[in-house]
Symmetry: C2
Subunit: 330 residues, 2 copies
């Protein structure tokens, strides 16, 4: 006897048990985390990050024979496009492109037989992704951890669903940004998504590669304790397009520099090595834990498989209890 589960177009298309995909978080979603998510019945995506070929090879090696995919920061991939072939050689279950024009990379992904997932922050991104032949759109709200834009998931997801219903009804939709438990998954399905892409909850998983000090510090945070800024990218020397900023847990570093980017620019020579040293030791005050508003829903670091199983089971319960509010007409 197995538990009830949620079967959607996504579980059917990807041949997975639960409509839950791991966000390919740079430096966080390694082979072990991706493997754990897939083994629990979701789909794990390795974080291609800023193009470290050795990290990618190690991640696929760590995932072993488990079916996983990979996600890229598109503008970064454009600076090192050979990485895509390197990943396609691993026969990934899916390739996700975020933050940039997917068109240059879509043909190779489709030719290799991979599922193309495009993460979008605006309706214009969605149109661009459909033009490139995306099979799955991720509608990412600004409450997400890490990079993103400004839309609220609760209304962006149904707006994208409406667009897909008209323009590309066979393209699937994942909700991202703020989804950390069964309630978020249940809500995503009622909003018209076929599943969810989950970052922060798995960032706080046992198999996450995020610094231990960052994850531990984040557990005490509420959702009001995050902040978006350009300061963290400046000090990490990541040259992000202006359209995207980074959401992190607020700390001593962001209190000092977020909103004071001009002053930080003048202090970079001194601050960059200081930040790097803090990050290396997992200092959660002087380097930034990269998590989203949903950190306020997370109280413990658990194995990814347990997180996923509980999220799926709780979503079933939530849909049933919300459905119980329906009173038949007389």
């Amino acid at each position: 006897m197995t538990e009830a589960r949620l079967a959607t177009r996504l579980t059917e298309r990807l041949a997975i048990d639960h409509p839950i995909v791991l966000a390919p978080m740079a430096g966080v979603s390694g082979g072990a985390l991706a493997k754990a998510v897939t083994e629990a019945g979701g789909l794990g995506l390795i974080g291609g990050g800023y193009g470290d070929a050795d990290f990618l090879d190690a991640a696929f090696r760590d995932a072993g024979n488990t079916r996983v995919g990979c996600g890229f920061i598109t503008w970064s991939l454009a600076q090192n496009p050979a990485l895509l072939d390197r990943v396609l050689a691993h026969d990934p279950a899916a390739v996700m492109l975020s933050f940039g024009d997917p068109a240059p990379f879509a043909p190779a992904i489709r030719a290799a037989g991979g599922v193309l997932i495009c993460q979008c922050q605006t309706l214009d991104h969605v149109r661009q992704a459909l033009d490139a032949g995306a099979e799955i759109i991720v509608a990412q709200g600004g409450e997400a951890g890490g990079h993103g834009a400004v839309r609220g998931s609760l209304n962006f997801v149904p707006e994208v669903a409406d667009h897909l219903a008209g323009a590309a009804p066979d393209v699937l939709l994942l909700a991202a940004g703020g989804v950390a438990d069964g309630r978020g998954l249940a809500a995503a399905l009622t909003l018209g998504a076929d599943g969810v892409l989950v970052g922060t909850r798995f960032w706080a998983a046992a198999e996450s590669l995020a610094p231990e000090g960052h994850r531990t510090a984040a557990l005490s945070a509420g959702g009001d304790d995050t902040v978006k800024s350009k300061a963290v990218d400046m000090i990490r020397e990541k040259r992000w397009p202006d359209d995207f900023s980074l959401r992190v847990r607020r700390n001593a570093f962001t209190d000092r520099w977020a909103g004071r980017e001009d002053a930080l620019a003048d202090a970079l020579a001194r601050e960059i090595p200081r930040y790097a040293a803090a990050a290396a030791r997992g200092d959660a005050e002087e380097s930034a834990p990269i998590c989203g508003e949903a950190i306020g829903l997370i109280r413990s670091i658990d194995p990814a498989g347990e997180i996923l199983t509980r999220m799926a089971a709780d979503a079933v319960l939530r849909l049933r209890s919300a459905g119980a509010a329906i009173k038949r007409g007389a």
Copy 2:
């Protein structure tokens, strides 16, 4: 034979048919709109706005014998506290306080037998509202139209639900920000809310007092076409606390001034009368339509009663179709 409906703790507590409350939008939610929402089975709240006693008296008069409530901008009410007694004399079904400390006004509301609703944008606001004795908390996400803060509804609502479950399990919860149709209502219930507070969708209702030109222009907008800034409050000479900014439809005015508030400050003598004249004629480019991201889900101006009835019916359908994804265990 009546249609199926959603019965929650909110419908029971307020003795209404559908768990939908009209946001008390300043200058928009007049007596006719509040009346229409109540008559369709929700609860209409008149917008107390910036303290125009004549507007309030007229609104209650327009609502006639229909049971409606009223909402105040708390920091503005503090400048003219006698308005509260004036409203309480109308025996409102509920009084909602937003944007400021509710403590000074809560005792009079409770003494008059009214239901105290407090709108909150952070967990600290929630704690403050509970201390003041709120019976209903509105968790408002930053995607909302008009004034608000920054949290995403999709994760703020469940975080507030968790807080209430521990601290005040009998206090009810409404989701606000981004809810414009049955999908949003269904999602709110799965997230742990007892109902929703709806602004933008009713802003675009036939009975809304928003300028016709503003509403018509907004119909062509997508959710990406709104912007938050301080510029509109500056030019309207509304002295809002720094914690809140105003979301409006992006237009020629915001393109010129949003993010350039310092320059606007120098130009106020010239720009204030220009803006006021544009607002008076409903010019949607030179004065700001005050709507939220959910404008991207709205395609027509309809009677409020139809909007509400459809929202409630669609939420039932959405919960049923999402629930149909549940496959029983084997």
